[in-house]
């Protein structure tokens, strides 16, 4: 009882080839940059794209192989896209009842289901008669989620479900979605490029790039040990490929040395440290930090109360410093600085 798929889809010169497994009641988030093949994956699962290789198996039933293709209406799926895609000529209630009615449920039962689904997403009776254009974005998206769930799908597909919402309604819908997914017993596949969606909604993450899986696993593991530059960027870590260690010192591809307190046994390693662990200074530091590199400021950006400084030099890195430090150091692009990181902040793990 699960979703197991190996999806091979050819789109011109672009090939998607990924393995997915989702257990009942679990949510798998697929992350990746634009054009990584995320939406193609969902379309293949929904039956909107033909499989050129592999298979889709749900609860021991084969949905698709290159030879056989169950049409979308024969698959037990619910699809929610960034745009709510509600039928504009139907009321909210009619929209939600559309699925059960299409699957042959009697009218009164279908409307009971629709009312229940809307209520579970916090939409009161006053919304039932409204047409999509009379709903706010957030309300419309919740109606669309209710519609996707009203057929009791085994597989729920969420395609950037929060990306089109304004910043005010996004947290409300995210919370409603999280609460609803918590008591959804089917398999959910969430496509997103927002790490917050992935970390708050998913039990498993899969990162894709150029149609391939680059890393997958539970969120806490991925955030701790990224194995791909894009994953590291999402996890907010500086990541480097390194060779073997000698007395705690590893050498990066650039030739720079980095010292870690982690025990290292592998010949090929990843080394990472958080931007917040970097201390910047105008002069060579003489503190306890074992790692000190000289660099040049490439860019300074403000995100909230933190300044993010990108450095190029012996080791390219980003550093998060407080506004106070920024003011004290008086940094601007092109300035020479020293960066230091304690060995205890540097994590090393096999590549």
């Amino acid at each position: 009882m699960s979703l197991r798929a190996r999806l091979g889809v050819q789109r011109g010169h672009f090939t998607v080839d990924v393995d997915l497994t989702v257990e009942p009641g679990h949510t798998l988030a697929i992350l990746g940059p634009n054009g990584a093949g995320k939406t193609t994956i969902l379309h293949a699962l929904a039956g909107l794209a033909h499989l050129d290789g592999g298979h889709i198996t749900v609860d021991e039933t084969t949905w698709a192989t290159p030879e056989t293709d169950l049409p979308p209406e024969k698959r037990s799926v619910g699809l929610l896209a960034a745009d709510h895609l509600l039928f504009p000529h139907l009321s909210a209630l009619d929209n939600v009842a559309f699925g059960p009615r299409s699957r042959g449920t009697r009218a009164d039962t279908a409307y009971d289901i629709a009312r229940r689904e809307l209520a579970r997403l916090g939409l009161a009776d006053t919304f039932h008669a409204r047409r999509p254009h009379q709903l706010s974005h957030g309300q419309a998206q919740r109606v669309a989620l209710a519609r996707a769930l009203a057929t009791h799908p085994r597989v729920l597909l969420l395609d950037e479900p929060l990306s089109a919402l304004d910043p005010e309604s996004r947290p409300t819908v995210r919370q409603a979605l999280a609460a609803r997914l918590a008591d959804f017993d089917g398999m959910t596949v969430l496509v997103t490029h927002d790490p917050l969606d992935a970390l708050t909604l998913a039990d498993e993450l899969t990162f894709v790039r150029d149609g391939r899986v680059v890393q997958s696993g539970p969120p806490q593991q991925i955030v701790r040990e990224p194995r791909d530059p894009y994953v590291a960027q999402v996890a907010g870590l500086n990541l480097y490929a390194a060779g073997p260690a000698r007395e705690g010192t590893l050498h990066l591809a650039s030739g720079a040395a980095i010292v870690t307190a982690d025990p290292v046994i592998s010949r090929e390693n990843w080394v990472s440290f958080p931007p917040s662990a970097v201390v910047l200074g105008r002069h060579r530091p003489d503190g306890s930090a074992r790692n000190t590199w000289r660099g040049r400021v490439a860019r300074v950006e403000l995100t909230g109360q933190i300044a993010r400084v990108s450095l190029t030099g012996e080791v390219d890195l980003v550093a998060d410093i407080t506004l106070g430090s920024l003011a004290e150091l008086h940094l601007a692009a092109g300035d020479e600085v020293w960066a230091s990181v304690k060995a205890t902040e540097v994590r090393a793990y096999p590549r």
């Binding site: 909107l48 979308p72 619910g78 895609l85 000529h89 559309f98 299409s102 996707a148």
Partner: protein
Amino acid sequence: MLAATDWRHLGAHLTNPVVVPAIRLSLITTIATVALCLALGTPLAWLLSRRDGRLWSWIRALVTVPVVLPPVVGGVALLLAYGRFGLVGQPLDAATGLRLPFTPYAVVLAQLFVSLPFFVLAVEGAFRALDPRLLSVAGTLGASPTRVFLRVALPMTLPGVMSGAALAWARALGEFGATITFAGNFSGRTQTAPLAVYVALQADPDAAIALSLVMLALSIAVLGLLRGRWLS
């Protein structure tokens, strides 16, 4: 035309024994034509909008031919096809004894021949303008292709279908060449309003003007009705 109208004798002209049957025939046949356009043309337009490929471009080309064909040539083609020795006419006669040319059915067929392409092209455009993602979503919700057509595509394109129907109706109301060639010009039987206008213009110009006035009023009324409800 309004200036040339003989308003004092308008009533008399309108109750003329030729005018009344012609208007009645035009109304009945054009309504039948629009009904057939809706029944046949809507599914055809849907299929054309959803299918691509060589076969369907050929079908589209075939449907479009009457747009560029002179109506008289269409009438000749219909006469040859449905005539007593025609490709369709002969088996139809043998099977049912039905002979279409020079009957009111021929009037409808001639009007359908010239107006269906206008209807299909207009409605296909409306279907193509639909967001295809809405149709995909309907599919994932379990709707069969027929249900997607009936419950999603059709209600959403109703204004387009209605304006297509208005276009087809206007084209059918004005139909002359194919009708006179294929159905003839028998008063009370196949003489539609445009044919009656043409005949009356030679014998009784005032009656022709009166009849034209009625057609003008009808057309404006239909346009006004649709404008308020569907067109904007």
